[in-house]
């Protein structure tokens, strides 16, 4: 008796702490099984309506990870159907085969449950926020009856479980919407470019969101590629939405004219006409590697953005001299274009101000620190340069909040 009392006290205590630990629907279900099985009951099943007429998804039984589906007879006014309809608990002491049939509408699950017979079958309604969202069916094997206190505890458990499941369901629906929209705003996978290498990094200010106001993109084919990196003023979701439109506008503009200056002029007009309060800074590079990858020509134009750095194979670091106004502020802006040549071993790096304006204990990270770091990584190639800059900046921040950080590096050769 003492053992049973302790079990009931333990369960009641763990319920609150553990059921609130996850917002994920599947993890919450596994949690419920983890709490109940086998301490409270040998066999546990969750039945959750799936939106089909009479359709339910059945989780668990003897194995918490097993899922199956069933369709309930709409005319049946007993067992599981009745619990789901009325929200009232049903207890079948030493349940008959017929009672089991009505409560566990699936042959394989039923066979496993029948293995425990003669057994008490308890079917509890899961009621959350005024609606019956499903049912919890538990079985105790021979010699382990559900006492009145057990039923009371089971109802308490069902109440908590229902609330946790319903919250997780709401979260999952919202999270699905968010993740589908988010996917289109995440940085793209980089293509592989013949006779050149590119690498990129993005770290959002809100790191868990994985999207923000900085963006990069690479598109083209054969020996003619367009690389862009930019920064929409502001951060978070609002800024991320505009990065999506900006990337799309750049792609469309490049379809008509691949000159970086012309691309920026088109982008400027589109953003200005869209009447947005926001402006966008961009660096746009047209990369044309020569066959064999010994050299590449890079045409550059910038719009209110720090111009790219070239890390020469020998360790010199130079910043390309080019300026231009941010896009989306004034109509009819003309952009300048400059052409640079890179050789095997050189790396060209585009970056956003999340790098040099990162604030650590000693103030801003700054351009001097960036130039010194890059010089030490001469010849290391785009992947390693991106990795080194990201690591150095994030370690400099030492856990402090930061703006979006984006890097895009390119080199010629394989």
């Amino acid at each position: 008796m003492l053992g049973r009392a302790r079990l009931r006290a333990d369960l009641a205590g763990e319920l609150t702490a553990e059921l609130s630990g996850s917002l994920n629907l599947r993890r919450t279900r596994l949690r419920i099984f983890g709490l109940l099985q086998p301490r409270f009951a040998e066999w546990v099943m969750l039945a959750l309506p799936d939106g089909r007429p009479g359709g339910v998804v059945l989780h668990g039984g003897t194995d918490a990870r097993v899922t199956s589906t069933a369709t309930l007879d709409p005319d049946q006014d007993s067992g599981l159907g009745r619990v789901l309809r009325t929200g009232v608990t049903a207890l079948f002491r030493s349940a008959t085969d017929a009672e089991l049939d009505q409560t566990v509408p699936h042959p394989a699950l039923r066979a496993a449950a029948a293995g425990l017979f003669p057994a008490d079958v308890l079917a509890l309604a899961l009621v959350a926020r005024g609606a019956t969202i499903g049912a919890l069916v538990v079985l105790r094997g021979p010699g382990r009856r559900f006492e009145a206190e057990d039923v009371a505890l089971a109802e308490q458990i069902a109440g908590r479980a229902a609330m946790a499941l319903d919250s997780a369901r709401i979260y999952e629906e919202r999270s699905h919407v968010a993740s589908v929209l988010q996917a289109g705003l995440r940085p793209p996978t980089l293509p592989s470019i013949p006779d050149a290498r590119v690498s990129a990094r993005f770290r959002a200010a809100a790191e868990h969101m994985e999207i923000g106001g900085d963006f990069y993109d690479v598109h083209g084919s054969g020996d003619d590629w367009l690389l862009t990196l930019g920064d929409v003023c502001g951060k978070g979701v609002e800024a991320a939405v505009l990065t999506g439109r900006t990337r799309q506008s750049i792609r469309t503009a490049a379809y008509f004219d691949r000159s970086p200056a012309k691309v920026l002029e088109a982008l400027n007009s589109v953003l200005y006409d869209a009447d947005s309060e926001r402006f966008v800074t961009v660096v746009c590079a047209r990369l044309r590697p020569e066959p064999g990858g010994e050299h590449a020509t890079v045409d550059l134009a910038v719009a209110g953005h720090p111009s790219p750095l070239i890390v020469r194979a020998g360790g010199e670091v130079e910043q390309v001299e080019i300026t231009g106004m941010a896009t989306g502020i004034l109509p009819g802006v003309r952009y300048k274009e400059v052409s640079v040549r890179i050789q095997r071993g050189d790396t060209l790096l585009m970056f956003t101000d999340g790098v040099d304006e990162a604030r650590g204990e000693d103030g801003y990270y700054g351009m001097d620190r960036l130039l010194r770091l890059l010089s030490a990584y001469a010849g290391a190639g785009p992947e390693i340069v991106c990795e080194a800059v990201e690591q150095d900046v994030v370690e400099y921040l030492d856990g402090r909040t930061h703006d979006d950080i984006a890097l895009l590096a390119l080199a010629c050769g394989r």
């Binding site: 702490a17 553990e18 630990g21 996850s22 917002l23 994920n24 629907l25 599947r26 993890r27 596994l30 949690r31 099984f33 983890g34 918490a64 990870r65 979260y171 999270s175 993740s179 809100a206 790191e207 868990h208 969101m209 994985e210 204990e361 620190r369 010194r372 770091l373 010089s375 030490a376 990584y377 010849g379 290391a380 190639g381 992947e383 390693i384 990795e387 990201e390 690591q391 994030v394 370690e395 030492d398 856990g399 394989r414």
Partner: protein
């Protein structure tokens, strides 16, 4: 039918591709092995991991510059991605694993290798990459609801953040499997940090996934006194590094604000100081003083390979003990476990 070649030949050839920074050759070798029917996990474990271990040793012994090490690693990354393309063709028949590195762990390659090994074992895998923020892990725990979290940890400095990853996962009931050099050669540190399982290598990591429980209870708290001291050390980390730098003869008197070259003794010594303090922190939270002793051995190899005297290692131990004077447990760890073998 040609007799199967020894895997040693494959390792030798792949190693040569890393040394000569021949990405195309490395990738085509890996692809050939896979086309010949060698399992992705075998290619990852017996070719790429084996060759990558040699790369690290060469840097440690001062035979390779940092640039060479980086260039070789970039080739290994390309080869690993090639295996990834094969692994992704394996149908998903098992659960979902989140593979990640905790904050301050910048070695993304081992996590990628583990991720592709698990993917080729039929698991759905989400890779979070190097030094993931805890907020990002938590977001994925709720959004994905994985069956397991795998944390790869190469450096001792990332063990405190790894502990926080374990806490976050366990709070959501999700089992955590850990591995990597920071955990040494037995499960002691992993268990001390509350991990559900420890894997000594890539293959074991995939096998261990099958034996994990569906749900785990929240992590037990760490012992209070050492955890509190580690938190203090972490808070004062920059000051402690500066204090050791100023007192140790190898780093003292240097006015440069950053490394001019990555291979100077000064640049390596700067890393050594940070690693040594990280080792003390790691020993505190894992209750494993070997972290300090092993680090002293590593420091000795790295420094003497670059022309420093063994006495510099002993001196560093003395400086550490002095700087950690206000931290009784940390001081005691250094005092008792630093560089026993090197004391003249």
């Amino acid at each position: 039918m040609v007799a199967p070649e020894s895997p040693l030949d494959d390792i030798g050839r792949f190693d040569l591709s890393l040394s000569t920074v021949d990405t195309e050759s490395a990738v085509s070798q890996v692809e050939k092995l896979l086309d010949d029917g060698v399992a992705p996990v075998t290619v990852l474990s017996d070719v790429i991991v084996a060759a990558q271990a040699k790369v690290g040793q060469r840097w440690q012994r001062g035979e390779w510059t940092v640039a060479q090490e980086h260039a070789a690693t970039a080739v290994a990354i390309a080869a690993t991605e090639a295996v990834g393309r094969y692994a992704r063709r394996v149908p998903v028949t098992r659960g979902h694993v989140l593979v990640t590195c905790a904050e301050r762990e910048w070695h993304a390659l081992p996590a990628t290798i583990i991720g592709y090994a698990m993917r080729s074992g039929g698991w759905d895998v989400t890779l979070l990459g190097a030094s993931a923020a805890r907020s990002r892990l938590t977001q994925h725990l709720h959004d994905v609801g994985p069956d397991a979290v795998a944390v790869s940890c190469s450096v001792l400095g990332a063990l405190p953040a790894t502990r926080r990853f374990i806490e976050a996962s366990a709070a959501a009931g999700i089992p955590v499997i850990v591995g990597g050099p920071a955990f040494s050669y037995d499960p002691l540190r992993a268990l001390a940090l509350g991990a559900t399982a420890w894997a000594p290598d890539v293959r074991q990591a995939v096998v261990a996934l099958n034996d994990l429980p569906a749900v785990i209870p929240p992590a037990l708290p760490l012992p209070v006194a050492p955890a509190a001291e580690q938190a203090d050390l972490d808070r004062n980390r920059r000051r402690l590094v500066a204090a050791v730098d100023a007192l140790w003869s190898v780093t003292a008197g240097d006015t440069a604000t950053g490394p001019a070259t990555l291979d100077s003794l000064r640049a390596v010594a700067g890393d050594v100081v940070k690693q040594s303090l990280n080792a003390v922190s790691a020993a505190l939270i894992t209750n494993d003083p070997r972290a300090v002793a092993y680090t002293a051995e590593w420091v000795e190899q790295v420094l003497t390979a670059r022309g420093a005297d063994t006495r510099a290692v002993v001196e560093l131990g003395e400086v550490l003990a002095r700087v950690l004077g206000a931290y009784p447990l940390a001081h005691d760890l250094v005092d008792r476990h630093w560089a026993r073998s090197t004391i003249l």
